[in-house]
Point group: C2
């Protein structure tokens, strides 16, 4: 095994069936330096314990996944969502403080789909903006960046009404870039005719909270949520997308987050090693040359 | 059964397993006044016979579906595609001339996906523009409008690299609006944060060749090509989309084209009747009031 790219971060969803201890261990064992965590496995051990385990691992913490899901109209469900988002903000701050130097306090936000029985997409999108307006002061106080994630338009009705990077930036524009940014994930935006322009805009506006890579391949699986692949195994042109992100000055870690039943069925260390190999072949060549460390 | 909306046109794909004779018969029997045809069932009986059958039906002809598939680089396959597109143009002209008064000579173009082994999405998109440039003189000579159809981004890699109405309009902008327009299909564009703006733009630029309606519902079926539903059975807001199209002055027929295994398994007359009922409930209320005929 070659040494993994020093900017690679493993998103915990890539080894979904591993618990937190295992996810941290295989990431370290593979020689990867950073990890993005998910709320459920963190909550399974408790936040303080998770922070301690993360600190012991020596890994950088890159993002906390995921919160959001606040497209419903005002009422008890919306209040519960806002409250839960506030907990997620605290989790992100705590974990970022526990991670190694270079960790970032970023909370990924997936907006949620259309409320049951609703056809009012524009209204749902407005409520995303409203929710972020409510949460922004908490995020600012905690030193956390909310990273609005546009999801592929095939998820617009049932998972995320934010469908393009441009739309995410339009929502973020109302807020301080240190507090509200965007998640730039190749899988979700590669098809966009304006993707390179919107990445450049995101850079100019200081909004690239996190850059994430995985690949797109057809035919899609029966559950289209699980359609993500190792970088290089599909049709996404990581050269142009990565060069565009690098050109904005983005120089932080790059996550690989893969939802894929076959990859989840792989031994988690092997899945991390394969992720690192795909990243090295498909993404690393397009990163700026660095001074040897 | 109430009388179907006079502007409803049944796209033949909605009754995919019906041959041409059956498709024409059930459309007439349901009291629908217009039909859009597909190339394969037309070619099955031969163009002259198809034109004669269409004329005998008394139906208006609204679109010919479909041609395109010209994203490959220069070579024998690309030449074969261009030649076949020229045949499709002739078919559209012949059928439009055979249809009842008010028929339109519109050929729907589906661009095609990434060529096998390619990740060059921008290049494939440029080759769409080049192909339309080659075909435009033939279309103009035949009096046919080429209707570029943006397909949902979930088809960008394997079926159609034109993914938004805005992108279709950008391609069309190089050409005479009488010769190159766009297919505005709710299923493909409903998710677009800029859909209303792009419909208005399409109207201003004279590019709405055809307006087509069907619905989006999740979970998507295993084959995402077959995810289309009767108007009203999903989450698309036909009120805002239809009002936007009407506001441009579009006053022609509106097709319903549904790919759905369950609907294809329905008796074709019943499928047409159900289509008419869905259209009457979900689309007709948003059409301009008309002087009683």
């Amino acid at each position: 095994m070659n040494t993994p790219d020093p900017r690679l971060s493993i998103n915990q969803a890539t080894v979904k069936y591993a618990d937190l201890a295992t996810a941290l261990r295989v990431t370290v064992d593979a020689g990867v330096q950073a990890i993005g965590l998910w709320r459920e496995p963190v909550q399974e051990v408790g936040l303080a314990t998770a922070a301690s385990m993360l600190a012991d691992s020596g890994l950088r913490f890159t993002t906390h996944c995921r919160s959001g899901f606040f497209t419903m109209p005002e009422g008890a469900a919306r209040r519960a969502s806002i409250d839960d988002n506030r907990i997620a903000i605290e989790e992100a701050a705590t974990l970022a403080a526990a991670g190694a130097e270079g960790s970032t306090a970023i909370l990924v936000l997936v907006a949620g789909g259309l409320p049951e029985g609703s056809r009012d997409l524009a209204g749902a999108r407005e409520r995303v903006r409203d929710a972020i307006g409510e949460l922004a002061p908490d995020a600012a106080a905690a030193g956390v960046t909310l990273a609005i994630e546009p999801l592929h338009p095939m998820y617009a009705s049932d998972r995320c009404v934010v469908s393009t990077l441009g739309q995410a930036l339009d929502i973020a524009a109302d807020f301080d870039p240190a507090v509200v940014g965007a998640t730039v994930d190749t899988f979700h935006i590669w098809w966009d005719p304006d993707v390179l322009g919107q990445i450049a805009r995101a850079g100019r506006e200081g909004r690239i909270a996190t850059y994430q890579v995985c690949d797109w391949r057809t035919p899609l699986p029966a559950d289209v949520l699980l359609a993500r692949h190792y970088p290089g195994d599909g049709v996404i042109d990581f050269a142009s997308l990565t060069a565009a992100v690098e050109a904005t000055g983005y120089d932080r870690d790059i996550e690989v987050e893969i939802f894929n039943e076959q990859i989840w069925a792989t031994d988690p260390l092997l899945a991390v090693q394969r992720t690192a190999a795909g990243f090295a072949a498909s993404v690393s060549p397009h990163l700026r040359a660095r001074v040897a460390g």
